[in-house]
């Protein structure tokens, strides 16, 4: 229970966190799906051994773990977060708040904070589980890996925010989010690795937010620096989509 003199934002965040945990589906999906991906692919024969195909590193560390993290971030940002926000608008939760002394933007901030904590927790679980259970090597360029995670999260959530801004109902938000999610998986080099995509699609894979995150994580897990195109794409996406969301967002 929070202190009686806690600020509205702290209180809102605590309440949103409780609601997130109380929603049976949300924590299960957020932690379950990426962890399942990690374990299922990570237990396949050969992926834990160093292979020349992955520059003398394991597929687990340089492909499977980055994939689990990128899918986690995209799922949260593109479908779950917009659905939450659209539900709040559809049900008039934001409208009720807009008649109170607290700006409804505080509720979005609280909701975002809860999503970010959930994302960070799951990233740590993936890395720890990988290292402790599957004997996975931790990212070699740890700082680069963290940077890509942060920028990728910002870019994907700004896209999710625009999805929330443009959808009238929770169902539409879920639909648009899913519609954005799958092509981004395919074009981002998740289903078919970037190296095996036709040349002109390799640039696309590094520019779309999901692909830029995923491929940047792969680079840094293997000890390299993230590619400039990936970082620039993530920064530009964040700026453009945040701007558009601010312009089109409706509170009711």
């Amino acid at each position: 229970m929070t202190a009686p003199n806690s600020t509205p934002l702290a209180k809102l965040t605590a309440v949103e966190a409780k609601l997130f945990l109380r929603d049976a589906g949300a924590p299960l999906t957020v932690i379950g799906v990426p962890v399942a991906l990690l374990l299922v692919f990570g237990l396949m024969p050969g992926v834990r051994e160093p292979s020349p195909e992955h520059g003398g590193r394991s597929a687990l560390a340089t492909f499977i773990a980055p994939m689990s993290i990128a899918i986690l971030l995209a799922m949260l940002a593109l479908t779950m977060f917009p659905t939450f926000v659209a539900t709040y608008r559809e049900k008039g939760v934001l409208r009720r708040l807009s008649a109170s002394p607290v700006r409804p933007s505080k509720l979005l901030a609280a909701q975002l904070a809860v999503n970010l904590v959930a994302a960070a927790t799951t990233v740590l679980i993936i890395l720890l589980l990988g290292a402790l259970v599957l004997g996975m090597a931790l990212p070699e360029n740890a700082a680069g890996f963290a940077l890509v995670t942060v920028l990728g999260t910002a870019a994907l959530f700004s896209v999710g925010m625009l999805v929330a801004a443009l959808s009238g109902s929770a169902r539409t938000a879920g639909g648009i989010g899913t519609l954005a999610f799958f092509p981004m998986l395919a074009l981002g080099g998740v289903w078919v690795p970037k190296e095996n995509l036709p040349g002109f699609l390799q640039g696309v894979a590094d520019a779309l937010p999901l692909g830029a995150t995923f491929n940047g994580l792969r680079e840094t897990a293997a000890g390299a620096a993230p590619q400039p195109l990936q970082l620039i794409a993530l920064l530009v996406t964040t700026a453009v989509f945040t701007g558009l969301s601010a312009k089109y967002f409706r509170w009711q």
């Binding site: 509205p8 209180k11 309440v15 609601l19 049900k91 409208r95 009720r96 008649a99 002394p101 607290v102």
Partner: protein
């Protein structure tokens, strides 16, 4: 000194005039009704009063404040219960009140509030599992949790069953007794008649009358209609010559007498003197419904 003053309010959206000309004042401590059919501009008026919308022209002053300049101060002192605003499904009653209490500098005691609104035994119940009446009571509680000087309640009892509606009315009277000024937006005649000290009747974005419910009725039609079956034959003239009587008609075995003011007393006196018993006696009086029809030329529902 009125606590709310609305003058010549006008608001248009997308070429559609929602409020054309609305003026009224609300005094401290009264229950002021805003009555009108759906789409008359009631909600828009309330939204301009509570700084949720900016009006095009006219002026609004609430507790001496300009809602758009002193929004933060106003929101601390004015509670609003809006239509179509729910809460998250899994939020419990006490959590909702505790959360909203944290928004105000001088919040009410939430346990007392739950007691007053009959929600004490629902404190651990989630919003989704509340009945319509309980949701509405929670909504009222949320509008009161900041200890407001004014509470604006929009379409409070729409969708409630008759029993919950009556319970809610009793509740509103209790709230007023705590000294809260109440603005009640409604399209239910019975609700307006039962609760409001004064009413503004709004139609097509304009105020057509402001008065007490009784004043509105009296202003429109003072006529009473009395129907009965006399126990023994009686001449029409016996009634027709009374000063209070306007018309006397026979419909089968029934006599129908109309007139103003004290017509009932005059007719019953005559009947008593002649020792005639009035069988199936009914008195029909103009009510707020008639007043509304006369003022706006349309029915409410």
């Amino acid at each position: 000194m009125p606590v709310i003053e609305v003058r010549e309010l006008r608001k248009q959206y997308q070429g559609k005039l929602a409020v054309a000309d609305v003026s009224f004042t609300v005094e401290r401590g009264e229950i002021f009704g805003i009555l009108g059919p759906n789409g008359a501009g009631k909600t828009t008026t309330v939204e301009c009063m509570t700084a949720m919308r900016r009006h095009d022209s006219g002026s609004v002053s609430v507790l001496g404040l300009d809602p758009h300049r002193k929004t933060a101060e106003l929101r601390q002192r004015l509670g609003v219960q809006l239509q179509e605003s729910e809460l998250p499904d899994k939020l419990k009653v006490w959590e909702a009140l505790d959360l909203y209490a944290s928004f105000y500098r001088d919040p009410a005691d939430i346990d007392e509030l739950m007691d007053a609104l009959g929600l004490a035994d629902k404190r651990e119940t989630t919003f989704k599992k509340l009945s319509g009446g309980q949701k509405q009571r929670l909504s009222i509680a949320l509008s009161l949790v900041g200890n407001p000087e004014i509470a604006v309640l929009d379409e409070l009892t729409t969708g409630l069953d008759p029993q919950s509606r009556r319970d809610t009315w009793a509740l509103i009277e209790n709230v007023r007794e705590r000294g809260v000024t109440i603005v009640l937006v409604t399209h239910f005649m019975e609700e307006a008649e039962r609760l409001c000290d004064r009413l503004a009747v709004i139609d097509s974005g304009a105020v057509v009358a402001i008065d007490t419910p009784a004043g509105l009725v009296a202003g429109v039609d003072d006529e009473q209609r009395i129907r009965f079956r006399p126990s023994s034959p009686v001449e029409d003239d016996v009634f027709a010559e009374l000063r209070e009587v306007r018309t006397v008609e026979r419909r089968g075995p029934e006599l129908v007498v109309t007139g103003n003011g004290n017509v009932l007393h005059a007719v019953t006196s005559v009947l008593a003197r002649k020792q005639i018993i009035a069988g199936g006696l009914r008195v029909e009086q103009a009510n707020l419904d008639d007043a509304f029809v006369a003022l706006t030329g349309k029915n409410l529902d």
